[in-house]
Amino acid sequence: MPLTGTAPTFVTVLLRGLLAGLVAGLLAGTFAYVVGEPHVEAAIAIEEAAAHTEPATGGHQHDEDALVSRNGQRGGLFLATALFGAAMGGLLATAWVLLNRRRRTVDDGRSGLLLAGGALLGAVIVPFLKYPPNPPAVGDPATINQRTVTYLLLVVLGLVAVWSGSLGYRSVGAQAPVWLRAAAAVGGFLLVTGVAYVVLPSFQEVPGDFPATLLWSFRLASLGTQVVLWTGIGLLFAALMHRQRAATDARLAG
């Protein structure tokens, strides 16, 4: 059977990842617009009320003479999530190609879904629990650089934790019962996550008079945006790879 020329090239896989990421980014943007924007607006109202009582201490401008109007920022939300989604989809496709020689599952779609799930856990949920996102009016501008660096570090460590979990899973032999392999995976994941949480600094910068319900709603909306993004990337990438494989198989059979 002539096999050369039938396997998807890197570019083929990459294009599917970019497309999946772009569409998932637009879906995430829609979710963020509907669910998250009201909370951003409410937080900005609080920020501006505070700015009127005390002199500005830097940070963003949200008034009408700002560089980008509020309507512009609401529209820019879709640009941000679409571009970010495409970048993440492309990186997922790249990881898929790099890992696919040693991966344990035969199915293209399953490995794509596992990777997206791993990214959601490591790059989103692990950082979210230690450094939950803040709405406007929360956060000290003086520590933004430190918070950005530690956040990025935790994204990397979260992915390392997922990798450590998969190592744990595989370190227990395939003959072992599945609960034992799963326990090893959880242990490997929690070990790295726990060390990262203890070693990295914490920041408590929520003003005492900031409404707790607004903070909670905003953070849920922000987490939901990322969940929509990664669920969408995983499902769409798996679907596109399945179609690609089905088309290739049909060509081979025909």
């Binding site: 890197f10 512009g72 956060g139």
Partner: protein, 67 residues
């Protein structure tokens, strides 16, 4: 690796060096794109803070530290 109906290599094994460079370039470009959305304040994009302000809401709702 166990085989199924389609057990051919999933990516061309040919020209591994070229693949390596393509992968590295792709990762660099995509990382730059994510950086522009999530962190840039005009230092790389040379747009002043226009892009930063334009994508302000997206950054907040994607959960990136903003201000």
């Amino acid at each position: 690796m166990s085989s199924s109906t389609s057990s051919q290599p999933l990516v061309h094994p040919a020209a591994p060096t070229r693949l390596l460079w393509t992968v590295l370039a792709t990762v660099a470009v995509l990382t730059l794109l994510a950086y522009l959305v999530a962190f840039d304040q005009g230092a790389v994009s040379r747009s002043g803070t226009y892009l930063h302000e334009l994508m302000h809401d997206g950054r907040h709702l994607l959960g990136v530290p903003c201000h």
